[in-house]
């Protein structure tokens, strides 16, 4: 594992409209995922872990914050910037009111004029700054794929320009030109989002029952503009082989497979575009025990073989512990703790994490009889009325969502 950050989630907010108010499904969540690691995301149902995954792959338009993939911003929301403008306007109005009051009292006109000017300038500065931010966010959000395709096309042009310079034979040049055209066409359909793929929870619902396995697996390639039948066939067979199925299976329909095999088809579909990053949204929850291990082993093998980075969303903590390098714990839209998996299980700091860990049933009857669940009650546990909590690094790589007093307590606890 390197320190090369492949995905950076920065103050991600995802709100949903709900009746009159808003549901803060994901509220100000930040984390980095390093290349080649498995990042586990756990939490109870409704805590926003799936929403986070879906926001990353742009199934939703995010409300605020940004997500960077390989350094390029792929999602951006405008809410935070708009909030800043709103706050600045409110401050401006308050200041104006004050100035008006002072004028009534007969304060020095000159001083007041200077102050008004300063206030106006300040507002303009903030507005200009934030508007630029908003414009760039919208631009990035909308056009990241186009920009990526353009860059890819430029790259293709560059390589072929070099090749053409080296070539002198007119026939070969014509062939090169044709090749370039084809490569450009493919590059124009290349999307940065293709590098992120998703494996869904329910292998039955996520496969189209009217498509054969070949069509399902090759759909991505076809949409990307690949027309070469032989190449598609070759790729599909390679994928089937990778996930432990045989080429014969390609002509069948999803209903002819068992749950584990269907999940393998789902995995094959997700890796055919050579992604670098996979979001596995509870890929084993719907499977039988004996099959779960097969799928986990498969994902593990693929990860090493293809150099994948995986965001592993699950609620079975023993599986997450086994599979992940680092784990993030979410609670009601907030990321409350983030640590390497061994560290998290050895020294859980946030009371919610403790409660979550105490709830895992282990296949050990004697331990189970003695296990007591810790109840997490956020109102009793934290006093955030004065000091607001933020994500703080308690020890190396171990982040906890806490305020200053708690931070001191946790640090003392660890040392």
């Amino acid at each position: 594992m390197t320190d090369d950050i492949i995905l950076k989630v920065d103050h991600l907010c995802q709100y949903f409209k709900m009746g009159t108010g808003e549901l803060k499904a994901v509220d100000d969540v930040s984390f980095d995922i390093k290349r080649g690691e498995v990042f586990g995301l756990v939490g109870e149902s409704g805590c926003g872990k799936t929403t986070t995954g879906r926001s990353i792959i742009r199934l939703y338009d995010i409300t605020g914050g940004s997500i960077y993939f390989e350094g390029q911003r792929i999602c951006a929301g405008t809410r935070t910037y708009k909030d800043t403008i709103r706050a600045a306007k409110a401050a401006y109005r308050a200041e104006k009111k004050e100035i008006a009051a002072m004028r009534k009292e007969g304060a020095d006109e000159e001083e007041l004029a200077a102050r008004t000017k300063a206030v106006d300038e300040e507002l303009h500065r903030v507005m200009a700054e934030q508007s630029a931010n908003i414009r760039s966010a919208i631009d990035d959000h909308k056009n990241c794929n186009k920009k990526f395709a353009k860059a890819q096309m430029d790259k293709v042009r560059e390589t072929y320009a070099e090749k053409r310079a080296a070539e002198s034979d007119p026939e070969a040049l014509a062939a090169l030109e044709k090749e370039e055209k084809e490569a450009l066409r493919l590059a124009s359909k290349d999307r940065i989002m293709n590098k992120i793929q998703m494996i869904f929870q329910d292998p039955i619902a996520s496969l189209d029952p009217r498509m054969t396995v070949r069509e399902i697996i090759s759909e991505g390639l076809v949409i990307r503009g690949v027309k070469d039948k032989n190449y598609i066939e070759e790729q599909v067979n390679r994928m089937l082989d990778l996930v432990g199925l045989v080429p014969d299976h390609a002509n069948r329909y999803p209903h002819e497979f068992s749950g584990g095999q269907r999940q393998r088809i789902g995995i094959a579909r997700s890796i055919i575009l050579n992604p670098e990053f996979i979001i596995a949204d509870e890929p084993i929850s719907a499977l039988d025990v004996s099959i779960q291990a097969q799928v986990i082993n498969l994902l593990n093998d693929l990860r090493h073989e293809l150099g994948l980075t995986i965001l592993f969303i699950a609620h079975d903590l023993s599986v997450v512990k086994y599979f992940s390098d680092r784990i993030g714990v979410m609670y009601f839209g907030k990321l409350v703790e983030l640590a390497p998996s061994d560290e998290l299980f050895a020294h859980p700091l946030h009371p919610y994490t403790r409660s979550l860990l105490s709830a895992i049933p282990l296949p050990d009857p004697i331990y189970e009889r003695g296990r007591t669940r810790i109840v997490y009650n956020p109102i009793a546990e934290h006093d955030y009325s004065v000091d607001r909590p933020t994500m703080r690094e308690v020890s190396e790589g171990h982040f906890v969502y806490c305020n200053e007093a708690e931070f001191e307590r946790y640090t003392a606890e660890l040392s």
């Binding site: 291990a293 023993s318 512990k321 086994y322 709830a359 282990l362 004697i366």
Partner: protein, 733 residues
């Protein structure tokens, strides 16, 4: 060893399904017993037949299911054979089920509250009626037995029994009133606690409204035996609270304007004074609730037959006094007589049992003949059914399943034989004619494109042996019963407890408002926030976890005897799962419930199970206590399950089980797991292993346990894990 009461017995159950592709053998000959107050976990993959078994127990098999044989005995009835009408009384009421998919087990167009209370109201009435009926029959049987034991004192017997009946009525009335009042007091206390908390946190919204309802609820708690001498004090406080509340609420006429100022008005209310009053009301309520419950059983007798008023004593002294009074005047005589009656009843039954055994001996030759004779057999079935049924001691509280189901079992066994005779003949004819045609074709020099299907014959010899073994089992059972000597006093006590239990069943009367309160309480218990709001919502408005809680609450509302949980927590996350498991465990302890827990999560099994049955391809491959299964597993499938699940210490590669379960349309000839089993022996592919007994509680079906089998150690992952668990649990070999 102490003998545990068997709640449910499944014997040689076989179920298959007709499908387009052929007959799927879902359950292939499984037997297990469920004891009272224990949790039996059934573990296996989907398609292993665990759900089908339990659906058979519930009587909700799909339409294409074929019940091929076996019996499910509950409360002296074979659930495979009773009519739908009889099943109706058991399903949901006695045996309840929690399903995996909560949405499909809720009615989408009915409010949650209605769905929760509906069953409570109906079942409440029915169970009250049934309790009353059981009470009456048992008392009547007891009287008859008394008459038998003391033939000259019929008058006195009648007097005793009717006295018992009469004061039991009084007891019922007293206890009912007490229950209602305590419930009200408990509710009011908890509501007040909540309100005080809100006042303390200065969250005044709706405080006044809720306080009003709490005060009115507290008024319901005026029962002589709940509040005792604190009644006056409490009344005064309630009045005070009412006055305080009234002053703080805007007048109805000014409601419109008040809605603008409402907040201010409410904030103006004298919450400090209100809090003080409520605190003292609550302290009185909790104090009175802490009093022990009076002995209503004895009090009922005193109030019915003693002319004098109750002596003024504390609860505990009063209970001793009443208890002594009752024993002296009535109970000791009654118990003595009941004991005698039980002895008489037992002896009479023994006599009849001897007759039955003699009859069985006499008629056995009918079934031993080489070919059975139909009329003679059915006549023998009729005669034997009559004598064996006669031989039952009706006053036994724990019903002896074997004798009760004997008539139906015997008839089914005999029917199996004679149906087989007819079928075999047909089958032989078919085979003969088809092979004749086939041979004719061959003789004519053609090669037929088909082959003649083999004869599918019923094993007549086996069927006959089944009949004989049934007879032998009954004889053995009866002889054991005759040889047994009992402590009749203890049995009389148990009988009276049984009568009391039935009477208290009559006490629990469910009204609509009570049902609502109970539903709210249950919803609160299963962890649903804002139950009052949820009560009026529809299922689609709730999340999956919430829905599952509602389903569990509904299943528990009927107060069942056996609870079948079909993967109830599979769809839930760990925290909720843990809460729900705790809930089921707690309720199991409280109500001495027997639970069948179906799951594939071994962690959950370890948490819940007293005993574990591991199922694979329609058979139980290993059964034992939780310790047996987790600390000394014997079947390769159990090893595979344990090693394929990571626990918190697992670092090495998981040992996945290769392949998939077999197609049950063509079940393998040998051990079904042999295909996926790396420890499989040659014999595993040829012959099905029988159940090998490892210890008193533990047995497994694998040839590895055969004395001639090579010694095989469990996989390293399992051995390591067990060592880790033992270390953690502090067990050393």
């Amino acid at each position: 060893m102490e003998e545990k009461e068997v709640k449910l017995e499944v014997n040689n159950l076989k179920i298959s399904f007709r499908t387009d592709a052929g007959k799927v053998q879902a359950v292939r000959d499984i037997s297990f017993k469920l004891y009272k107050g224990e949790t039996l976990a059934i573990v296996g993959e989907s398609g292993s037949g665990k759900s089908v078994t339990n659906r058979a127990v519930m009587g909700i098999l799909a339409g294409n299911a074929i019940k091929e044989g076996g019996e499910i005995v509950y409360d002296g009835q074979d659930l495979m054979k009773i009519s739908e009408e009889d099943f109706h009384r058991i399903r949901g009421d006695k045996i309840a089920m929690i399903f995996q998919d909560p949405l499909s087990s809720l009615n989408p167009i009915m409010r949650i509250g209605k769905q929760m209370t509906e069953a409570m109201l109906i079942k409440g009435r029915v169970s009250q009626k049934n309790s009353r009926r059981d009470f009456n029959t048992t008392l009547k049987l007891l009287k008859e037995a008394m008459d038998g034991a003391f033939p000259n004192e019929a008058e006195k017997n009648k007097q005793l029994c009717s006295d018992f009946d009469r004061f039991e009525f009084k007891h019922i009335a007293l206890e009912q009133a007490y229950n209602r009042a305590t419930e009200a007091a408990e509710d009011a206390a908890s509501d007040i606690e909540d309100i005080l908390f809100r006042i303390e946190k200065e969250a005044y919204k709706d405080v006044v409204r809720d306080a009003r309802s709490a005060v009115s609820r507290a008024k319901d708690s005026f029962d002589r035996y709940v509040v005792y001498d604190r009644a006056e004090e409490l009344k005064g406080l309630l009045k005070e609270a009412a006055v305080l509340l009234k002053s703080s609420i805007p007048k109805r006429i000014g409601a419109f304007f008040a809605s603008f100022r409402g907040r201010e008005r409410e904030e103006q209310a004298d919450f400090a004074a209100l809090a003080a009053t409520l605190t003292s009301i609550r302290s009185i309520l909790t104090e009175t609730l802490a009093f022990p419950m009076p002995n209503f059983f004895a009090m009922g007798y005193y109030l019915t037959f003693s002319q004098e008023p109750l002596p003024a004593l504390g609860v505990e002294e009063m209970n001793t006094y009443l208890h002594d009074y009752l024993s002296e005047k009535f109970m000791s005589a009654f118990i003595d007589r009941a004991a005698e009656a039980l002895r008489y009843s037992h002896e009479a039954a023994c006599e009849r049992k001897r007759v039955a055994i003699a009859k069985i001996e006499e008629l056995r030759p009918v079934f031993e003949a080489e070919t059975l004779e139909k009329n003679a057999c059915y006549a023998a079935v009729k005669a034997l059914s009559a004598v064996v049924t006669e031989g039952i001691d009706r006053l036994e509280i724990v019903k002896d399943n074997l004798a009760y189901t004997f008539p139906t079992s015997l008839e089914a066994a005999v029917k199996l034989y004679f149906d087989g005779v007819v079928r075999n003949k047909k089958e032989q004819d078919r085979y003969a004619s088809q092979s004749k045609r086939y041979e004719a074709l061959v003789a004519a020099g053609k090669t037929p494109s088909y082959s003649v299907a083999e004869m599918d014959l019923v094993d007549l010899k086996g069927a006959r042996e089944g009949i004989l073994s049934l007879l032998a089992r009954v004889t053995e059972n009866f002889s054991a019963k005759i040889a047994k000597t009992d402590d009749y006093h203890a049995k009389a006590d148990a009988l009276i407890d049984y009568l009391k239990e039935k009477a208290s069943g009559v006490v629990f009367k469910v009204t609509k408002s009570m049902a609502k309160l109970r539903a709210l309480k249950l919803m609160d218990e299963v962890g649903i926030a804002e139950p009052r709001k949820r009560f009026y919502q529809y299922p689609f408005e709730l999340s999956g976890g919430m829905r599952q809680r509602i389903v569990i609450a509904i299943a528990l509302a009927a107060n069942p005897d056996i609870l079948i949980c079909d993967e109830p927590t599979t769809a839930l996350d760990v925290t909720i799962q843990s809460q729900i498991l705790e809930l089921i465990n707690r309720i199991k302890m409280q109500r001495n419930l027997s639970v069948i827990f179906i799951t594939h999560n071994l962690g959950v099994v370890a948490n819940m199970a007293d005993r574990v049955a591991v199922m694979y391809a329609g058979k139980i491959v290993e059964i034992g206590t939780a310790e047996d299964i987790f600390y000394s597993p014997a079947h390769p499938y159990t090893w595979a399950l344990l090693s394929s699940m990571p626990d918190l210490d697992t670092k090495e590669k998981l040992e996945a089980i290769p392949g998939t379960p077999p197609n049950m349309i063509y079940p393998p000839k040998g051990d079904a797991f042999a295909e996926r089993n790396k420890y499989a022996l040659k014999i595993d592919f040829e012959m099905q292993p029988p159940m090998f007994r490892i210890s008193e509680t533990h047995s497994a079906a694998t040839w590895l346990l055969h004395p001639d089998a090579p010694k095989v150690d469990p996989p390293k992952a399992v051995v390591d894990r067990i060592a880790r668990m033992k270390e953690r649990g502090g067990i050393h070999d």
